[in-house]
Amino acid sequence: MNELKIVATDLHKNFGSLLAVNGLSFEVGAGEVLGFLGPNGAGKSTTMKMLTGFLTPTSGTALINGHDILDDSLAARRCVGYLPEGAPSYGEMTVRRFLEFVARARGFAGKEAVRAAGAAIERLNLDRVPEQTVETLSKGFKRRVGLAQAIIHDPSVLILDEPTDGLDPNQKHEVRQLIREMSSEKIIVISTHLLEEVHAVCNRAMIIADGRLLVDDTPAGLIARSRYHDAVTLVVEQPERVASVLSELPQARKVELREGELTVFPAEGSKLFQVISDAVRENGWSVSELRLEAGRLDEVFRQVTQGGTV
């Protein structure tokens, strides 16, 4: 058995004159849940389509567990479970028949295929609908069918293109739960434009825009790039007066007043929270809210994808 690893080397993909993916290189190892983040059209899906062998890279290549996606495509594909964007499936088939078809295509024969389909149905809580045709199912169920076919052969690499897109909050929670459960011994790559998702399931995030890798970091590291990281926000009476006092503090770099909320940004390396709560007590301000900001992912995202680096 080869080492569990994805190695992408200088992947390029052109569609005519459009550069969809422009020199992506990265490595992913076991236990990593990698989130591809990026605006629409950033090249996330195209990258996934190349990793799964659907599209041929214009140049560059990738190894999936040591199998080259160009020279050894079938072996690479055997390692991978893939949920394409929108979770397409054959609508006129019943859930069970569809999963049995995928199982057989994945090399299960006869009874084994039936058993694999049954196991996937159980795993994704499809027990209520196995004999229903896929086209009659709700969006959430369809997505689960797509996930069921992706994990039916217990792949070591899972590539999920927008696995929670269009699901309601409960369904999102379920899918994320499932991803977390499976993550320990696999490589999971998901794409999303939901920032909260990165926080919820990933332990690594890559921001991609215009086919280029802009940031490769942990979700915590990503959030720490936010200018709001370690800032303190308070809601207080007479905010203008409080703002002028707080801006005198040596630990404060900047004070912003927006919609009644006062946000104090720390100077390099300073911790603000204690200082401000002391100031509140000393001055006897009437504070209705006081919180430490973790950082704002959406702001980091905007900054990275629109303004270059953070």
């Binding site: 569609f15 389509k49 799964t52 062998g53 659907f54 599209l55 041929t56 079938l74 072996a75 594909r77 055997r78 991978v80 893939y82 394409p84 964007e85 929108g86 397409p88 499936s89 054959y90 609508g91 006129e92 088939m93 028949r97 078809f101 995928v102 057989r104 295509a105 994945r106 090399g107 024969a109 045709t133 076919q149």
Partner: protein
């Protein structure tokens, strides 16, 4: 090797069951049977001829197939593209060729089934007279092979587009060209400027000529090879088209 056979069989099975879970199959079979009956008994003057053979039955098959086979073949790949399942199918550990062959075989078997269901015509002719059943069998084989040729063309046209109507029209046009390529109407386009060698090749492309030979009971190896080659080449073209424009 057995693995790749299993892969093709799996695709064929899925595709075939797909036909029967939608009205497509039943509509096709009913129309095929009704039309072949109409052609045989009214236009073909089956009874009036007073000859115990199935020539009036088979002679209209090329024209029947011209419209009905593209109707079956148009969905082969256009539908996969439209619904996005092409991405699912072609990222499974099966080759594009296996998928192309599997889907083609399903459609071909299906047309074969429709053809088999015309057996009452055969029973009728045996009841009325004493036909040469060897010739009848040859006619069926020839007809099925010709349907395979049409289907392979339709498969390739279907791979070109996500729109089934476009696939249908392209298929009819190309099939029509192949059907008529031996007739003066088409040959006149080429005579005068094309070399004789090319003219012979074009004339030999005609489905009609090869089918006519088989349906008269003459199973010539060259005719079998011809249809085999036509099918293989168009399926190969389908594979190439899919490889080139998967993402579209």
């Amino acid at each position: 090797m057995s693995g790749s056979v299993a892969a093709v069989v799996n695709v064929t099975r899925r595709e075939l069951s797909g036909y029967f879970s939608t009205p497509v199959a039943w509509v096709f079979i009913v129309i095929f049977l009704v039309m072949s009956g109409v052609f045989t008994f009214y236009i073909g003057s089956f009874y009036e001829r007073g000859i115990a053979d199935l020539e009036p039955f088979f002679q209209f098959h090329p024209w029947l197939y011209l419209f009905l086979v593209p109707a079956i073949g148009m969905r082969l790949w256009a539908e996969e593209r439209r619904s996005g399942t092409i991405e699912l199918l072609l990222t499974l550990p099966i080759t594009t060729w296996q998928a192309v062959l599997g889907k083609f075989l399903a459609a071909w078997l299906f047309v074969g089934l429709a053809l088999d269901l015309t057996f009452p015509v055969w029973l009728t002719v045996n009841y009325l007279g004493d036909p040469d059943n060897g010739v009848v069998l040859a006619g069926y084989i020839g007809s099925w092979l010709m349907a395979g040729g049409f289907l392979a063309i339709a498969s390739c046209m279907s791979a070109l587009t996500r729109n089934q109507v476009v696939a249908f029209i392209l298929s009819v046009v190309v099939c029509f060209g192949f059907l008529l390529s031996g007739l003066p109407m088409v040959m006149n386009l080429f005579t005068g400027w094309a070399p004789q060698g090319l003219l012979d090749v074009i004339a030999n492309f005609s489905f009609l000529a090869h089918f006519a030979a088989i349906s008269k009971g003459v199973i010539d190896l060259r005719d079998l090879v011809y249809f085999g080659l036509v099918i293989a080449l168009w399926l190969l073209a389908t594979t190439i088209v899919l490889e080139m424009k998967k993402a579209d």
